[in-house]
Amino acid sequence: MITRPSTSRILEDVVEELMRDIMPSLTDPAQQIRLHMLTIVLNNCANASEREIAVMREEIPVYVDFASDVAAATGSAGIAAAADAARMGDSLVLADVIADYQRASSAFADAMDLVMDTMERDLIARGEDILRMRMDNEREILSGVAAVGRSAS
């Protein structure tokens, strides 16, 4: 398999071509704005391709461990079953990792709901830290707001 250049580097090179050679040839401001938006999308994709599988596989055990601990603390059979069902598989195929990630996210959300209902203070604090971690990872991959071309008129 060809590994060089990486997918992210290829996408970055496409962005460079679009900005250096295609953008100057566009005279329609609407098309310029659309191209600028597309380059932001491509840059985000480059960023995601570098690490999205690794990020999800780092997060999955955190969610499952939290759900397991909530099940143990509360005696919830439903949360225990959800945690067991959300154990990470071995596959590194993106679609499989996404499916694992969704199951783990669901188990975590159910567990968080339960501790918020029962006001388990320590577990709530731990769950909120996990939410912050999830957001920090998301922020690293997606660049956040970009008000490209927003007209002020």
Binding site: Q32, I40, M112, D113, M116, E128, R139, S151, S153
Partner: protein, 335 residues
């Protein structure tokens, strides 16, 4: 929405006036509707400029709003005394002439308040002016608004419907988003005090205020307007990313002016409640964004916005977590 289409519309609605459409140029930058600036010469030699607002093709757009509902709102507010809107002139409801449902309004020689803010004015004064325009819309007596505009049966029914946007978001993507689940739970633990229902603009920001010499400001872009909780507009403005911001440098000063102009109490609006309403005042946009991203997931193209608005998705997602983490738990909220 080009010269030929607009000519056909004017020939149909103003057959006696001998219109000649001289130009029709797209105005780039809108994230929702397509906008065109057009110039017309009438048979008597007078010229006039118009703004055409039309629906982009469904398959290449993300935000959903109803031009007929917007037209009804424009008709309901066009003659109100407390603020101005560019006069709505023509409406092609079916797209028979313009190729898409389209509202035609007079064009105003103006500069937007956002551009004015870029010139470095006194921001205390600008804040007061901004809040005054916002309050003028919210103070509009509901009995002066045409009865055809839908009114919620009660404040609680209305606010529950807005909160339900979070359930709609999660239904739209068909998977569990722990951040949205957490945000929704904190929202429900912190239902704010009731306020009188009011005219809500839905996209209230300096970019939608037009400043013109010798007149009161004009308020434009009413596509998300409705009757509801006026604090939705305050919360919405908090997330506007374009600087300089008129709220964040001094939230207490902002809400104090608003209270003075609207008569709401400190319990009804304060910086904490304004931040709560960011979670609600943006939820209609987040819902459309998430429906768009789900379409992309399912292989349905939604134009550049379908993927580009992932940046807005991330922006709102971050704000939702940050702001909901600040909200107290139910037992704290009731102390």
């Amino acid at each position: 929405m080009d010269v030929e289409h607009f000519q056909a519309l004017l020939d149909a609605v103003e057959p006696e006036r001998g219109a000649a459409v001289l130009s029709a140029a797209p105005v780039p930058g809108g994230y929702s509707r397509e906008t065109v600036m057009a110039e017309v010469r009438w048979a008597d030699g007078a010229t006039e400029r118009f703004v055409l607002r039309g629906d982009p093709p469904v398959e290449s757009s993300v935000f959903r709003s109803d031009r007929a509902a917007e037209w009804a709102i424009l008709q309901a507010v066009k003659d109100l005394p407390d603020f101005r809107i560019p006069t709505p002139r023509y409406f092609d409801a079916t797209g028979e002439y313009m190729g898409c449902p389209c509202i035609v309004s007079e064009a105003i020689d103006s500069t937007s308040m956002q551009k004015f803010l870029d010139t470095g004015p006194d921001l205390d004064r600008a804040r007061a002016d901004f809040v005054a325009i916002m309050a003028s819309a919210h103070n509009t007596p509901l009995e002066s608004i045409d009865a055809s505009i839908e009114r919620p049966a009660s404040w609680r029914e209305h606010i529950d419907d807005v909160i339900a946007n979070y359930e709609r978001m999660m239904d739209a993507i068909g998977e569990v988003d722990p951040i949205l689940r957490y945000t929704l739970k904190k929202i429900r633990m912190n239902i704010p005090p009731e306020v009188p229902l009011a005219l809500v603009h839905g996209d209230l920001q300096p970019g939608n205020f037009l400043l013109s010499e010798g007149t009161d400001p004009y308020v434009i872009d009413w596509e998300f307007a409705r009757i509801g909780d006026p604090r939705l507009d305050l919360g919405y403005y908090l997330q506007i990313p374009m600087p300089p911001h008129l709220y964040h440098p001094d939230p207490e000063a902002f809400v104090a002016i608003y209270r003075e102009l609207t008569g709401l109490t400190t319990e009804q609006i304060n910086p904490a409640i304004a931040r709560y309403f960011l979670l609600l005042g943006t939820s209609h946009l987040m819902l459309d964004i998430m429906r768009g991203t789900e379409d992309v997931t399912q292989g349905r193209h939604r134009g550049v916005m379908g993927t580009f608005l992932m940046t807005a998705y991330a922006h709102f997602h971050r704000l939702y977590l940050d702001y909901s983490l600040e909200l107290p738990y139910a037992e704290e909220a009731t102390r």
